[in-house]
């Protein structure tokens, strides 16, 4: 009998649940950001800071720049696109989904070679990549992620790409590449400086910067999505990103000023 009552309550709860959803509509002053995965370690703290300054609530989705650009072009409800390069915002512009005619550069990224302290690599240098004992290297997908493209460029520039190709493990985005290396499943990773500078990765490993001449600068561009409900707020966030104090804190976390 009590079992029957339990099932009745369960069924009633399940029946009522779909009706409750429409109560939680978002206010007009919410900012929805499509953010490149290299911003995952950096952006949440900035959003909190922005909310304290302006009382505007902001939320971010982190994926590779290509995935986000495709979603925006297909109509995903974002107000602002913070990409990891200029080509993906340009695609959004070409599709008529952006307010700007040119992406606004907001930062410059840095590519690093990272390894766990317990990976058995004694001294980390570019020569580590030439070591036949090296078995796996995590990079982001060069087609989807600007950092992946930079990693491919750098390996090609160093003349290592063809030999290392069988050893590459490809992550969907740069945060996942860092995760492959941090979890020890890949021996080294070509990841973003933003990930390498997080307390977690600082504690578990070490890194070297790749020579800047080995890859094209990772200039990161932003566009405001055309006729999105939060486009005015998106402009305020871009102004916030340009504040000297914010630029300084970005630089300390691995994102140099764009100019």
């Amino acid at each position: 009998m009590s079992e029957r009552r339990f099932f009745r309550v369960l069924i009633a709860v399940v029946l009522l649940m779909p009706l409750s959803g429409f109560a939680q509509q978002r206010g007009p002053a919410t900012l929805r950001i499509a953010a490149a995965a290299d911003l995952q370690p950096v952006l949440p703290a900035l959003l909190t800071q922005f909310e304290q300054q302006t009382h505007i609530h902001a939320e971010a989705s982190f994926q590779s720049s290509a995935t986000l650009a495709t979603q925006i072009i297909d109509g995903a409800p974002f107000d602002l696109f913070l990409a990891a390069d200029l080509s993906f915002p340009q695609r959004v512009i070409a599709a008529g989904r952006a307010e700007e005619t040119q992406p606004i550069p907001y930062a410059r990224g840095t590519l690093v070679l990272w390894t766990r302290s317990d990976s058995g690599i004694a001294t980390l240098s570019i020569d580590t990549l030439r070591d036949p004992a090296l078995k796996t290297i995590a990079i982001a997908n060069p087609e989807h992620a600007p950092y992946g493209r930079a990693a491919q460029d750098a390996l090609q520039h160093l003349g290592l790409y063809d030999t290392l190709r069988p050893k590459l493990v490809i992550a969907e985005n740069i945060a996942q590449a860092a995760q492959y290396a941090d979890s020890g499943n890949a021996q080294v990773g070509l990841i973003s400086l933003t990930s390498a500078l997080t307390p977690r990765l600082r504690a578990s490993g070490r890194f070297i910067r790749l020579p800047a001449h080995a890859y094209l600068p990772i200039l990161q561009g932003a566009v405001v999505i055309r006729s999105s409900p939060g486009s005015a707020v998106a402009h305020r966030f871009l102004d916030f990103l340009a504040q000297p104090a914010v630029r300084q804190s970005l630089a300390a976390q691995g994102l140099e000023p764009a100019r």
Partner: protein, 222 residues
């Protein structure tokens, strides 16, 4: 724990389950009673999502619901926003993805009802709808509950379709399974562990309740 994602997953699963019961019961009734050559074809189509990779479903839905097709433009005009990357879009995807989990147990339940009872109902003047409501459904409550529980838990555990058509938007399409993917990616292993344990708990509880009910009713029938 991402409470927003938990709530979203539960809401999505409940909505999907209700829609699937509404579609699945008539469909399963037809599959259990139809004698046409069309039946195996319809049955194959409804079972297809079990065998297909979620990416196939996600890909076609994304194209179909997007702004480049008439269907996509029409729904965007009616709803005021595109169906992809929204909660309603996830419901459409989940309904297709979990369809076999509703239809299979329901059709099996309806088929196991003694045909003599159905003939008696017909002789007493009951139409098809009356037979379904007064005879078939009361005799297959276990199958209805099994179908509902499977649809619910399968939707809570869905990943690929949600990732492809949802776009990981907090509060709208970031379900629990997507939240775990994000948590792993941002090195929050402790948070990912808590969320994962919760999902294991939900699935295990649903199965235990299901099997407990089956065995207790089996004893009652014996």
């Amino acid at each position: 724990m991402d409470l927003q994602a938990l709530w979203l997953s539960l809401r999505l699963a409940a909505t999907t389950t209700l829609v699937l019961l509404a579609i699945g019961i008539p469909l399963a009734y037809w599959l259990a009673s139809a004698r046409t050559r069309l039946r195996p074809i319809v049955e194959a189509i409804t079972t297809l999502p079990i065998l297909l990779p979620p990416t196939v479903l996600g890909f076609y839905l994304l194209v179909l619901l997007g702004p480049h097709t008439a269907v996509g433009r029409l729904t965007a005009r009616v709803l005021g926003h595109p169906l992809a990357f929204s909660f309603s879009g996830l419901v459409v995807g989940s309904v297709l993805y979990s369809l076999p989990f509703a239809v299979q147990p329901l059709a099996a339940g309806f088929r196991s009802v003694d045909t003599a009872l159905l003939e008696q109902a017909r002789l007493l003047g009951a139409g098809r709808l009356r037979t379904l409501i007064s005879v078939l459904l009361p005799l297959s409550t276990h199958s209805v509950i099994a179908a509902a529980a499977l649809c619910f838990t399968h939707t809570v555990g869905e990943f690929g379709v949600v990732l492809m058509i949802g776009g990981d938007i907090p509060g709208a399409t970031r379900t629990l399974s997507i939240a775990i993917y994000d948590q792993v990616q941002e090195f929050s292993y402790a948070a990912a562990n808590r969320t994962s344990l919760l999902l294991i708990g939900v699935a295990a509880l649903a199965l235990v309740l299901l099997y407990a009910r089956r065995s207790s009713s089996g004893a009652a029938n014996a």
